[in-house]
Amino acid sequence: MEQNTEKDGGHGGAGPMAMLSGVLGKGGFDQLRIVTLLFLAIFILYSVVLPGFFSVGNLLTLMRTVSVLGILGLGMAIVVIGRGIDLSMIATLAVPSALVLTLAAKGFGVVPAVGIGLMLAISIGVLNGILVAYAEIPSLFTTLAVGIGVAGIGQIGLFDYEIVSWPPALDGIAWIGRGSFYGVPYSVLAFGVAAIVIGIFLRRTRYGMFVYASGDNPGATRLTGIPLRPVLVMQYVISSCVAFFAGMVLAASSASMDTRIFNLTWIYDVILVVVLGGIGLSGGRGGVANVIIGTLLIGTIMNGLTIMNVSFEMQNLVRGLVLLVAVLADSIINPRNEETAQQGDI
């Protein structure tokens, strides 16, 4: 898909119209195209209707608010492409990064603190992966339970307060979430860097191809000789590391980490971004482009609603309905009936 957009962008020229023609270029209607069109439509509508929407300041705010969500979406995308799901990402975002802040505040030094946090994130990923790949517990339940457990570990005395503030000792790496580079906030750049790295991993490396294979047809993947189970473990480790990275960005930008962030609605936003962008939950489809467009769409909708001064509950409602439409579109584009559905596939 990435390659498609590149190619189509080549003969189109510049500007939004070129993007539009690129999107319609192949004639087919996959979800990426639909969502891109939807995004452009809403973007143009907002720009015309909402005063103050189409301004550099607002667009940067938009990007900054969704950058952490986007990073999480990238991590989730890897697992979803591998036909899994990682509901423990929010816990993995909060607990290891809060641990880093706590350790640094106690004078551990930047590198050991981050190292320990990373170790914790990796071990959460390994636990998820082993339970999914080797114990064969459905990923939904593994990551749900691990998420609850990790959040619980965070609550029992790892931290002095539920909100851990950013210690001065870590100011050396505070730039990953704060400040801006030629006007572009670093958190948006972090999203960009993560997107490039994961894009290269998925499309240009052997293990990235293994992820697609394991999601497309696990049985055939195994028969081909690809180490299916280690690849599955790897997916969860990567998503955990991405979540840790997102946590550090979030902590730096808000100068604290609220460990109560573990609640279920945030992870639903992450799934929303991934599914909305067109990464089918049956695995093996989609890529980084889908996450970016999904993130942009959600960011735009929410930003517009905020400008329109819509209440938080109403925003939730709208977000839910948008996700509903996305899932409905997914089930129409990738239809499943009694013959093609997999047993026990919920």
Binding site: L140, G149, I156, N316, R336, Q343, I346
Partner: protein
């Protein structure tokens, strides 16, 4: 030493373990055990963990949670998941309180409105998941968010109004605080619903549809079940159950709290999984849902009372959820292996030395070639004629592997037709003078084919033994029959522990798994008259009309059983040292009996019968196709007298025309021979037989 082995295999109940493990209710035993462990653990740690004062409150909570778990269980059994229960719960709680506190409606109308609302909210899920084929997890997750948002908005509108009104509604308060026979009202309602749910899932057609769709959606669809409708309705049911829980919750606490129902879906899901309800569908019961609810509630209450921090209880809950899922998945994956390993339970059997079959030994079983010149009927046109019978017009009947009764036309038996289709493999058959054919059908029971070719079930069940673990009321392998002068039908059932195609495994056990059963047409009753026989496989009425001769294949013996007269109930051996495995027994024209021997004993198998430990190891360590099995490829026909004298034996030494024999029937001076592994029926001219003899029975008024 040998005596010890004998005693051990005689009295140690090996077979019980495998049979217990095979029982569906064993799956419920695991959560029950967990529940008892939880109770024991907290009772030891906390004083008065279970006391009358806190029991009442715990029971109310348990029942409220139980309703939601029941709803979730139905959705899980169908193969879906319903995450939106928490939000539906909150919305229904708010609605019920609004109806009672603000609108001032009566209890009945408030309950009705709330239930309908719950059904409607569930129906949204149902339509999306059932009819639009959306993914259950995501869809209900979205409705969770949407309903929650709707709840928050409504709560902001009406929350204050609810809290500031205190209605005077005794009927409503009765729901929340009332007791009936000193137990909470909610408990009675829950008990009724749970029993109804159990009956629904296990006894009613619609409940079977639910189980079938969860078990295998594709097959259910291909069978023509209304998959979409059932799936959709399961979500409606979940909505209604959740609304019920919310009604009791509302009447008890009367609080429109913003956090109502938050995280409920996790608790409910954990309860269902802990109870042993499988993710992915097809497995589950009301009992499991109840057990899971109790476990989770006692756990959370116990942890609360031990003053455990919220974080600690989260960790414990997560660990338990993971362990339960792990146990469930491992158990489900490996259970059949465990059953297979444990189910086969060889016994000790010492056979007397066989009579010799050596040609020059002078033994009556000495090998000869008398069957060499048997004519063949239907060569290559018939498969597996286990038994044969002839009617008054000399037409020949036999069963085949495809579940038909085939008729060969007299006099030359070259033309054949399918006389009747039964569906299971016909084994022993008997023709009556009236033209009715009685058939023992493997896996089905005793059937008859009327002269107008209509197939009718005679009996397929007998009385269940009181202490048997496996259900021995069903007929698994009825294999030969005969009819007493008064019309009673005696038939043998080879084994109650195995299906027809598993007969070699039964031979490995050498246990008394078989029995003789009597069907009485006068009152339509079937009862077991003789148990613990080792593969009874042939049966024939004795000349006195008060007893039968029967053959036990793996025990290599013929015995006589009196069902009437002065010796009623006694069994006497007739021949105990046959050189092979006896099969059908039939009348001969001279008042003696024809006996088919389907295979010949060999010393290795006989030795193995005295080494049960060896056979057990074999059955555990080797795949089934590498197990020892009795030889069933060459046999003979013997003529025996009622006292057990062997009068004549006929072999087909070259194995050319008819080596494999399971039955024979004398008819007008000829002997017709059947064999279950054969593709032909044999016909032999008997020199000294009565040319008018026909082996037809007098049917009672069956």
């Amino acid at each position: 030493m040998n005596t010890l082995v004998k005693l051990r295999y005689r009295f140690w109940p090996d077979k019980i373990f495998g049979e217990l493990l095979q029982k569906p209710w064993m799956e419920t035993a695991v959560p029950l055990l967990v529940l008892l462990l939880v109770i024991a653990f907290f009772s030891a740690r906390i004083d008065n963990f279970i006391s009358i004062t806190n029991l009442n409150d715990t029971l109310r909570q348990a029942c409220e949670l139980g309703f939601v778990v029941l709803g979730m269980s139905i959705v899980l059994i169908v193969g879906g998941i319903d995450l939106s229960v928490g939000s539906i719960y909150a919305l229904c709680n708010l609605l019920a309180l609004y109806c009672v506190n603000v609108l001032g409606l009566g209890m009945i109308s408030a309950v009705a409105i709330t239930l309908v609302a719950g059904a409607a909210l569930g129906a949204v899920n149902g339509i999306l998941v059932g009819y639009l084929r959306m993914r259950a997890f995501l869809t209900t997750m979205v409705t969770l968010i949407v309903y929650k948002a709707a709840h928050d908005m409504l709560n902001a509108e009406v929350g204050v109004a609810i809290s500031s009104n205190f209605p005077d509604a005794p009927a409503w308060d009765y729901l929340g605080f009332g007791t009936f026979l000193s137990l909470p009202v909610v408990l009675w309602v829950f008990a009724v619903v749970a029993v109804a749910g159990h009956v629904f899932l296990t006894r009613l057609r619609a409940g079977w549809h639910v189980m079938a769709i969860g078990g295998n959606r594709r097959s259910a669809y291909n069978t023509g079940l209304p998959v979409k409708r059932v799936v959709a309705l399961s979500y409606v049911a979940s909505g209604v159950f959740t609304a019920t829980a919310a009604i009791f919750f509302a009447s008890r606490l009367a609080s429109p709290g913003a956090d109502t129902g938050k995280g409920l879906e996790i608790v409910v899901l954990t309860a269902a999984i802990l109870g042993g309800i499988r993710l992915g569908g097809g497995k589950g019961s009301v009992m499991k849902a109840v057990l899971g609810t109790l476990i989770i509630l006692l756990l959370t209450n116990g942890m609360l009372r031990m003053a455990m921090s919220a974080g600690m209880s989260r960790v414990i809950l997560a660990t338990i959820l993971l362990l339960a899922a792990l146990l469930d998945i491992r158990w489900f994956k490996n259970r059949h292996k465990a059953v297979q390993e444990l189910y086969v339970s060889p016994g000790y059997m010492e056979l007397p030395p066989p009579q010799s079959t050596a040609p020059e030994s002078g033994s009556p079983f000495a090998l000869n070639d008398k069957l060499r010149h048997v004519d063949t009927i239907g060569l290559g046109e018939i498969e597996s004629p286990e038994d044969v019978a002839l009617d008054a017009d000399d037409n020949l009947y036999c069963g085949n592997r495809h579940g038909d009764i085939v008729r060969f036309f007299a006099p030359d038996y070259t033309r054949q037709e399918v006389y009747a289709h039964i569906g299971g493999q016909p084994l022993g058959i008997v023709m009556t003078k009236q033209g009715t054919l009685f058939v023992c059908v493997g896996g089905m029971g005793l059937y008859k084919v009327n002269p107008d070719r209509s197939v009718e079930k005679v009996t397929d069940e007998t009385n269940r033994s009181l202490l048997s673990i496996i259900d021995d009321s069903r007929l698994r392998l009825a294999d030969d029959l005969d009819i007493a002068p008064d019309g009673r039908i005696f038939f043998s059932e080879a084994t109650v522990r195995y299906e027809m195609h598993e007969w070699p495994t039964d031979s490995l056990e050498a246990r008394g798994n078989g029995r003789i059963i009597c069907y009485d047409p006068r009152n339509g009753k079937t009862h077991t008259c003789l148990r613990n026989l080792i593969f009874p496989n042939g049966i024939v009425m004795a000349s006195d009309g008060q007893s039968i001769l029967f053959a036990e294949s793996w025990a290599c013996r013929i015995s006589r059983y009196w069902f009437d007269g002065p010796k009623a109930g006694t069994v006497e051996p007739v021949i105990e040292n046959l050189p092979g495995y006896p099969d059908n027994l039939n009348r001969a024209s001279d008042g003696n009996y024809w006996l088919a021997i389907m295979g010949v004993r060999n010393p290795i198998f006989d030795l193995a019968m005295r080494k049960p430990g060896f056979r057990r190891r074999m059955s555990k360590k080797l795949p089934g196709d590498e197990w020892l099995a009795p030889n069933l490829n060459t046999g003979c026909i013997a003529k025996i007298s009622e006292s057990g004298e062997v009068l004549d034996v006929m072999w087909d030494l070259g194995g050319e025309n008819h080596p494999m024999i399971t039955s024979m029937r004398e008819h007008k001076g000829q002997l017709f021979i059947g064999g279950i592994h054969n593709n032909r029926i044999g016909r032999l001219k008997l020199d000294d037989a009565d040319p008018e003899f026909v082996d037809l029975k007098e049917a009672g008024n069956a």
